[in-house]
Symmetry: C3
Subunit: 135 residues, 3 copies
């Protein structure tokens, strides 16, 4: 079972909760036990697992990365594309997350959701979801 969906981001830097979209794909797959892989098919965005009940958690992650990796701070790739900070932040957070499926649902902690982190928006971002069945 695999599927690609698209997310349209609205801001240059943004955190978006995509848990419901992934959960819907898991539900439709009918898989009761396995693993779910969620990967953004771009190198200036990332996927993380964290709290999305308070959307400010995602904002804080963006702010912390802005402080540690400031825009246009002498990065070499800025000569080519002017978005080096976005590549660096994406590398630090990572393009994908893997999580268990148990009882037909994503097995996440109470405060864990799936978030798409945009660092070079607004853009249309492709997210690949792949489900591995365990017998």
């Amino acid at each position: 079972m695999h599927q690609i969906f698209t997310v349209a981001t609205q801001q240059a830097k943004q955190s978006l909760d995509i848990t419901a979209r992934v959960a819907e794909i898991v539900k439709r797959s009918g898989v009761s036990r396995g693993l779910c892989h969620v990967m953004v098919l771009h190198s200036t965005a990332a996927v993380i697992l964290n709290e999305n009940d308070d959307p400010d958690v995602g904002v804080d992650v963006l702010t912390a990365l802005d402080r540690a990796v400031p825009d246009h701070a002498g990065w070499l790739h800025d000569r080519v594309d002017n978005n080096a900070h976005a590549h660096i932040k994406a590398a630090i957070l990572g393009a994908s997350e893997l999580m268990p499926i148990e009882g037909g649902r994503l097995q996440l902690g109470t405060w864990q959701g799936i978030m798409l982190m945009e660092f070079d928006g607004p853009r249309r971002r492709k997210v690949a979801v792949r489900i591995l069945t365990e017998e």
Copy 2:
């Protein structure tokens, strides 16, 4: 094969070696070849692979994250829960690791162990282990 075990952390920020507990689950599973997924079911802790022969490596990782993401440095989520730094650090390190199983054992490098990184303890932390068999 899947299992959840609990780790009781003792400090606010702590690095704990959980390699032996995961290795025991792999052994009991009887799986000789596959992949092992280890995920903390919380958003203020993380799982990493690194050296645990010298426990100071884990301490250095905690210190480096403290320097890059200081506690209470104007984070928005602190208004709700006062633990924004812990969420940010967990997002940077990531909730899970995936590693091969070969010959019935975890295939890790000589200096690689599995570490639970606590950023908002002391707490009881649930760790989900899932084993995928390869035929």
Copy 3:
């Protein structure tokens, strides 16, 4: 399907594109759909997915980590091995990446490649590739 290959790094800190070597293993496996896991079996190097069309992206990632985690900045593990910065950076980026296989090929974004990040070279680094088939 699993295989270990070796990469000889030439510098203390270096970013190396290993996409072609992993793609070749995927091709030879004959697997048309599944997941591919790529992991460095060391704790002072990392594997990331990012752009390698402009090699300066990798250089920028190395520079950003040098700024955030300076060498010999009072790290405890330096007393033992003098390479604490390399362990910390490896923990932040992570030892492995997982990516889909679709149509017999790695399913990566246009600007995504697989990069080995060396933080304590030059060395010979072992990279484990494991392919999971989806039926």
